[in-house]
């Protein structure tokens, strides 16, 4: 419960929201979909700036080089969008695996990233798609790789009065395939393991590899050792098995009462291998 909450602000534009946050005298936080904020126990927050009604933060756009998604876009809109291509399909798949229709109507593209819970599904997909995040502080903006935001934790990465406004994902060339998978006790439950991968194949060899996991770890991580192992090699069963083994060996597994560490590691290795297989199969199409 937000015990001390007394005030809501409803800015109409990003600039209004940022100046509200920058000039706040009371302890102020942002809210969009509100699913995590509503369940949060915090007795310091006195005011909330509601981003959910800012129209310029809710959109899905795509052209031949990239897809842009407004930070306050409900993930249900991504799931039901007509986005296509490797990036579009991956975003749709990942968004569709979040909770339920009722939750997806609230949870937003930016909130799922900024709240950065272990069970958030989109961050791993953003990571393998080399997404960039547009952060705005009123008019001024900076565009940063999503991995920078994740690795330095959004709360400390963003400065006072700055918000995540947009997520940009590049469109990939032919010969690229991507895959997203999630394991949870039920489809509505928190993820136990989230795996995303993207592979580009050129001349029969892996030219570029991205692999990221979440939920089994405390925050989304790229499995860079495994990526390095894959690049430049011919994708065969042995290589993928070795990469999966290497990826799991490098993980710092989070405690979860739902399943033991041993079990989740074993499942994760299989999921990673299958994810790579799927990405490679799609890359060949």
């Amino acid at each position: 419960m937000l015990k001390k909450l007394t005030q809501f602000y409803y800015p109409k534009t990003v600039e209004d929201a940022c100046s509200q946050l920058a000039n706040a005298k009371e302890k102020t936080s942002v809210i969009a979909g509100g699913t995590s904020e509503a369940l949060r126990n915090d007795s310091t927050i006195e005011a909330l700036v509601d981003l959910s009604k800012i129209k310029e933060l809710s959109f899905i756009k795509s052209d031949s080089s990239s897809i842009s998604i407004g930070a306050a876009t409900p993930v249900q809109d991504i799931y039901k969008s007509d986005l296509s291509g490797v990036s579009g399909e991956l975003l749709k798949t990942a968004a569709g695996k979040i909770g339920s229709t009722l939750l997806r109507n609230a949870i937003t593209a930016g909130g799922n990233l900024v709240a950065l819970f272990p069970w958030s599904d989109l961050p791993a997909a953003y990571m393998v798609l080399d997404a960039e995040v547009v952060c705005r502080k009123g008019k001024p903006k900076r565009t940063v790789p999503v991995i920078n935001l994740i690795n330095s934790k959004p709360a400390s990465f963003l400065t006072k009065g700055e918000i995540v406004a947009e997520i940009k994902v590049p469109v990939f060339k032919k010969g690229t395939g991507a895959s997203f998978a999630k394991m949870s006790k039920t489809s509505n439950d928190y993820s136990l393991i989230t795996v995303a991968s993207r592979i580009t194949i050129a001349g029969g060899k892996i030219e570029e590899a991205r692999l990221a996991v979440n939920a089994i770890t405390a925050q989304p991580v790229r499995c860079e050792e495994a990526e390095k192992l894959l690049v430049g090699k011919k994708p065969d069963a042995e290589l993928l098995a070795e990469a999966a083994k290497k990826a799991v060996a490098g993980l710092k597994v989070r405690k979860d009462y739902r399943a033991t560490e041993e079990y989740r590691k074993e499942v994760c290795e299989v999921m990673i291998r299958r994810s790579l297989e799927e990405s490679i199969a799609k890359a060949g199409k």
Partner: protein
């Protein structure tokens, strides 16, 4: 704080605690169809339509629906003049204890508003956040598909 909302087409000017959940505000205002099941967004018994989107009212702060339009099951129909969906739920036996019905009805109303000719997969997808422990997930799907057909045919009844 003051909360201005439209609930089932009627304007309300409510005095609410800033940290109150929407479900509690709605129930206090007399909309008892909104049920509290899990209080954490898992079961869907509390689902209401907010500006055309079905959401869990148990994990949304009331302050977030300022100037919004809300639809609860009371806004669909009543025992004398039920909505076609409500009628169909009864006819197909997709109600037993009834606790999940108001939320489920809101989810499928939102579906039919957007997609008047849903497939079985569409219905399952729309109801993926509404748990029902009595009727077993088959009858309600039949009920929605049947209601959609009736609405398509334009049979007399409230839309």
């Amino acid at each position: 704080m003051k909360l201005n909302v439209k609930i089932n087409g009627k304007k309300f000017d409510l005095e609410v605690n800033p940290n109150a959940m929407l479900i509690d505000v709605l129930r206090d205002a007399g909309f008892k169809s909104v049920k509290n099941g899990c209080s954490e967004g898992s079961c869907g018994a509390c689902a209401v339509m907010i500006d055309g989107r079905p959401k869990n009212s148990c994990i949304i702060l009331a302050g977030q629906v300022q100037n919004s339009e809300i639809l609860t099951a009371e806004g669909l129909g009543n025992p004398e003049t039920p909505h076609i969906l409500q009628r169909s739920f009864v006819d197909h036996g997709s109600t037993q204890c009834g606790y999940c019905n108001p939320g489920s009805l809101i989810s499928v109303k939102a579906l039919l508003d957007k997609n008047p000719k849903p497939t079985e997969a569409d219905v399952k997808d729309a109801l993926d956040g509404n748990l029902c422990r009595c009727t077993g997930y088959v009858k309600r799907i039949e009920a929605v598909l049947d209601a959609a057909k009736i609405i398509q045919k334009g049979t007399k009844g409230k839309k």
